[in-house]
Amino acid sequence: LPATFDWRDQSAVGSVQNQQACGGCWAFSVVGAIESVYAKSGQPLKQLSVQQVIDCSYKNQGCNGGSITRALSWLKQTRVKLVKQAEYPYKAETGICHLFSQSHDGVLVKDFAAHDFSGLEEAMMGRLVEWGPLAVTVDAISWQDYLGGIMQHHCSCHHANHAVLVTGYDTTGDVPYWIVQNSWGTSWGNKGYVYIKMGDNVCGIADSVTAVFL
């Protein structure tokens, strides 16, 4: 494995989004993963609709919360195509699901894999490089006050409550860290990213790791 790796360097990661006053982090991480895997396959990076997932993934609660795996199960089972963001723009509130015909252009999720990598973060590095950016859940209670740097302490792994996208890692310094894209805008953290120490399952980053296959 390379000592440092970031899917942003392959132009396979969308820009940092801002979920605003909507608890739709789970949809942002799912759609971010799909965008990246789509771009990884050689297609141009395109922004897909988070609002479609929020409105239509009926087993989740829209802006009141949801789960990565439930959203991906819905996409896989219904074979709903994810349309472009421009066709179904973000409103930061739950709305009525807009349906598109099956012939409408969009991205189809073929499958996904969700695993617990706690104690196996080196294997998780390999899967990140092979499969693409990974949608993960974390305990983000202490993220309220984060400004930047590598999060190494004060981040328990007891209760997952937030969903984000792991885009890379860096093991070249004294403290190896995961590179994680958040959905709280670019003014938060390191231009919208948080760095999390590797190896100790800090924030529970390895507890529930999901990869998408298109």
């Binding site: 608890g23 802006c63 919360g65 949801g66 617990d116 196996l120 998780m124 859940t137 984060y146 740097g149």
Partner: protein
């Protein structure tokens, strides 16, 4: 300064202002505690950001809304399909 930077429009000395000021003060205390234990060069830094006038409960209710399903341990075997 905070209100200007983060475009808060609650008026000075209103109920809302006092409540937000109280949450802001609590966040300053949290920053001092968190930074006192993060002394390494590369360690995370904690301080004032757009969430500093939210209570912990407000922050949790608004932004920490994801749930995680129990997933199997990674075995190294291919599971696609």
């Amino acid at each position: 300064s905070f209100r200007k930077q983060f475009h808060r429009n609650y008026k000075l000395h209103s109920d809302c202002y006092h409540r937000r000021r109280s949450y802001f003060k609590n966040s300053i205390k949290r920053h001092a505690y968190l930074n006192s234990l993060s002394t390494d060069k590369d360690s995370a830094k904690y301080g004032i950001n757009q969430f500093s006038d939210l209570s912990i409960n407000e922050f949790r209710d608004l932004y920490l809304t994801a749930t995680a399903e129990t997933v199997p341990p990674y075995s190294g075997l291919k599971t696609e399909g």
